[in-house]
């Protein structure tokens, strides 16, 4: 190795610095495409810049003040939390259960790979296609109404997507259905890396399934669980595509599926294009997610 060393004259590159050279591309790319946009978002959030009016002027905390004054903001934040928590609990629960079954030495389920693939498949579908599918399934003249009315379960067709609980339930279901397969893959990878000898000795000591799960699997799976938790939180706080595409893109019915990012997009795509106000939403979501994620790391840290 190498060109740099062969140059006896001029700039001489010490071997110790190679590390910096190797990480330089990442650092440069990060500064350019990662840090600068974050900085710019913070900067924009203190201005009244619009797309139609060009760069605006510094307005201090006005965007934040207006944001906290509007009822939609608290609605969006609480919706986002609700939609995320209600899809994350069954997601991690089902994923853990299926992973235990799939990796169980006693059950010895066959063709685990095929099951895992089948559960992962919904994740490969386009959110746009899934949202359009559920929109037409539950539309007034759609198949769900037809099936229910013709089988006599309900007398009159229902405007399903005008009902807040139904709309929220659909978003939660779709999010769960799309993501539990991905969680299974992560958790199974964690479980299979736990040494079988631990379970064998536990069995000799007379431990039952639950005890093995509680005292062997869970503690050794902790890093993976934290990872799943945090990535899902970050993704959940940025939930956008399904709730945006399922109804009118404004959180219909009655803003029940309006999420943080949809509110940000609404401000961005408003008739004047209020990117300053949209940035303020982004900054608040950023701070909220960061604080919670750091909190998770802190409370679930190794305590020894």
């Amino acid at each position: 190795m190498t060109a740099a060393n062969s140059h006896k004259t001029g700039f001489r590159f010490k071997k110790d610095y190679y590390g910096y050279l190797f990480i330089a591309p990442f650092i440069i790319a990060f500064l350019l495409f990662g840090l600068y946009p974050v900085y710019n978002t913070f900067r924009l959030s203190f201005t009244n810049t619009t797309l139609m009016g060009g760069s605006g002027s510094f307005v201090g905390l006005q965007n934040y003040q207006r944001l906290f004054d509007t009822p939609q903001f608290m609605k969006a934040v609480s919706n986002t939390w609700l939609l995320w928590i209600l899809n994350f609990i069954p997601q991690i629960g089902i994923a853990l259960l299926l992973s235990v079954w799939f990796t169980s030495v006693r059950l010895r389920i066959r063709a685990v790979g095929i099951w895992r693939t089948v559960y992962y498949l919904p994740n490969l579908l386009m959110p746009a296609a899934i949202a359009a599918l559920f929109f037409s399934l539950f539309s007034f003249f759609g198949p769900v109404n037809q099936a229910l009315v013709r089988s006599g379960l309900i007398a009159e067709p229902v405007q399903w997507l005008q009902n807040q609980t139904v709309a929220r339930g659909l978003v939660i279901f779709i999010q769960w259905w799309m993501w539990f397969g991905a969680t299974i893959i992560l958790i199974m990878a964690g479980m299979t890396s736990i040494s079988v000898s631990l379970y064998e000795s536990a069995m000799i000591d007379g431990a039952d399934e639950w005890k093995m799960f509680r005292w062997i699997t869970i503690p050794l799976l902790k890093p993976i669980l934290i990872y799943v938790f945090v990535t899902s939180l970050v993704g959940g706080m940025q939930m956008f595509d399904i709730p945006f595409l399922l109804t009118d893109g404004r959180g219909s019915p009655s803003g029940s599926i309006l999420t943080n990012n949809m509110l940000m997009y609404l401000k961005f795509s408003s008739s004047q294009g209020h990117i300053g106000a949209a940035s303020a939403v982004g900054v608040v979501v950023f701070i909220m997610t960061t604080v919670i994620a750091l909190g998770i790391f802190y409370f679930l840290r190794e305590k020894n």
């Binding site: 009016g53 939609q72 008739s271």
Partner: protein, 502 residues
């Protein structure tokens, strides 16, 4: 070994960073490619050609790699929200073989087109020519992003372009956008059903029966009673939003304050009445059930066939919406020839597409000429309205044109001169057969001069969009009327933080 791995990793990372660079600048990669390909002479020609002397040189070289034979083509970027204007683009290429129009279509279902356009303005990704729909054309005409096209006004005078069309494209005396359409609205009704319920299908008599919204509501009750509830007066109450809103006294915003005109209240009351009494099919505009009503294939959840008596549609609604959907997908029912058209309860106008040029584009002259051709060229407008632009016609110019790209006859154009010239063409046309002999073009020609656009503002689209959800919730009985108004006003704050809604 380890070192060479590191080197490899480094190279890969560098490659990734380079690939991630947004401006994959066409020049550096395209130039060597052109040099070693057969296109080398063409590329050389392109740089030498005086027309391509300035900023256009680089794109011309890039073009040469795609189409080596026509290296001198000048490209024009046109953005729109339907594939309609692409027909004109191809026709323009037919007249100007040295022009290559790059046509980009972005749908506007939830406002994607407007958003993408706003984000591209002021960047190098901005197009040269933009199509602007009635709902948001004013936003752009009121902004500084469109070029002053006052130079085209003499053409508009010669064409006798309908005044409201030019008015919409004008702000503070500066005209920035022109339209090829004028879009007065009408009411289309089913003749066979009219005979059944009202004993006549004569347009004049039906118009007398439906001449205002009180009469329209009374007629809806008759339709419901005589059909035993199997025929709805209208597919969705959203259909008559435009007639009500077009007849307000005041625009939405006066002195930064929201104005809720009595007509808005009347619209909400009528919509609620239609929902509660079962006069509307509860379909959603532009969705399956709405289209199904046009060809009698509407079936309710229990499997009972339902019919729709009338549709509020403007000029373009006939050739673009009603006629293409009059036949059901399985071909079992066809309502062609069973339609009549009248002015309806209230005069209105709906939609329309304007064209403007982005200010500061290096291709301003070419872009302006394209707008002139598309909106003010009498020959083009005649061809457009009379069905000259068939798929074969377009394929002869550009063999790569999609097989459904064409313009059916019947779109109502903006030039009074052209309209009067071509009215007789529609006396015995397919469209008049569709309307059982009625010449809709003549009817629209009567209505067009009285349309005015004084109420139109840049904020209309956002204000009306924000109303849809609270209104639907109210119609469905989920919230009260007071909650509806409150939610709507709250929602407006997202779009208009400075708007007073008291």
């Amino acid at each position: 070994m380890k070192n060479s791995f590191r080197l490899l990793a480094l190279l890969m990372m560098v490659a990734m960073v380079l690939a991630a660079c947004p401006s994959q600048s066409a020049e550096p990669t395209a130039v060597p490619a052109a040099a070693d390909a057969t296109a080398a002479p063409a590329a050389a020609e392109a740089t030498a050609a005086p027309a391509a002397a300035e900023a256009t040189a680089a794109p011309a070289v890039a073009d040469a790699t795609e189409a080596p034979a026509s290296g001198e083509k000048e490209t024009l970027n046109v953005w729109s929200f339907t594939n309609e204007i692409n027909t004109m683009a191809v026709a323009y290429e037919g007249k100007h073989p040295n022009v290559d129009i790059k046509y980009t279509m972005i749908p506007m279902t939830n406002g994607e087109y407007q958003t993408k356009l706003k984000a591209a303005l002021g960047t190098s990704d901005a197009p040269d020519v933009v199509a602007l729909e009635a709902a948001f054309v004013k936003q752009f005409v009121e902004s500084d992003f469109l070029k002053d096209l006052g130079s085209l006004l003499p053409y508009a005078q010669e064409d006798q372009t309908y005044t409201f069309v030019t008015d919409v494209g004008t702000n503070d005396g500066v005209t920035k956008a022109y339209a090829y359409q004028a879009t007065p609205g009408a009411l289309f009704y089913r003749r066979s059903l009219a005979k059944e319920y009202f004993g006549t299908d004569d347009p004049a008599e039906i118009q007398a029966l439906l001449s205002d919204f009180d009469k329209y509501t009374e007629a809806a009750a008759v339709v419901k009673e005589k059909s035993g509830g199997d025929t709805y007066m209208v597919a969705s109450s959203g259909d008559f939003q435009n007639p009500f809103f077009a007849n307000r006294e005041q625009p939405w915003v006066v002195d930064d304050t929201l104005v809720v005109d009595p007509m808005v209240q009347k619209y909400v009351d009528t919509a609620k009445l239609f929902r509660d009494e079962g006069y509307e099919a509860q379909a959603q505009q532009w969705q399956e059930g709405w289209f199904a009503g046009m060809n009698d294939s509407l079936v309710d959840a229990a499997g009972t066939p339902k019919k729709v008596f009338s549709y509020f549609l403007p000029t373009w609604g006939l050739p673009y919406v009603l006629a293409p959907n009059a036949k059901s997908a399985d071909g079992s029912s066809d309502t062609s020839g069973d339609w009549g058209v009248i002015t309806g309860p209230l005069p209105y106008q709906w939609g329309g597409t304007w064209l403007g040029v982005i200010d500061g584009t290096p291709k301003a002259d070419l872009a302006t000429d394209f707008v002139r051709f598309a909106t003010l060229d009498q020959e083009n407008l005649t061809n457009w309205a009379t069905g000259v632009y068939t798929n074969d016609y377009l394929k002869a110019i550009d063999p790569n044109v999609a097989s459904d790209q064409m313009q059916a006859p019947g779109d109502f154009v903006s030039s009074q001169v052209v309209v009067e010239k071509i009215i007789p063409d529609f006396d015995n046309s397919e469209l008049s057969a569709f309307l059982a002999g009625q010449n809709s073009y003549a009817g629209f020609a009567e209505a067009a001069p009285s349309v005015n656009a004084k109420l139109m503002q840049g904020s209309d689209d956002a204000i009306q969009r924000a109303m849809n959800d609270p209104l639907n919730q109210y119609l469905n009985g989920e919230i009260t009327e007071d909650q509806m108004w409150a939610t709507w006003k709250e929602n407006l704050a997202i779009d208009f933080p400075d708007l007073s809604t008291n």
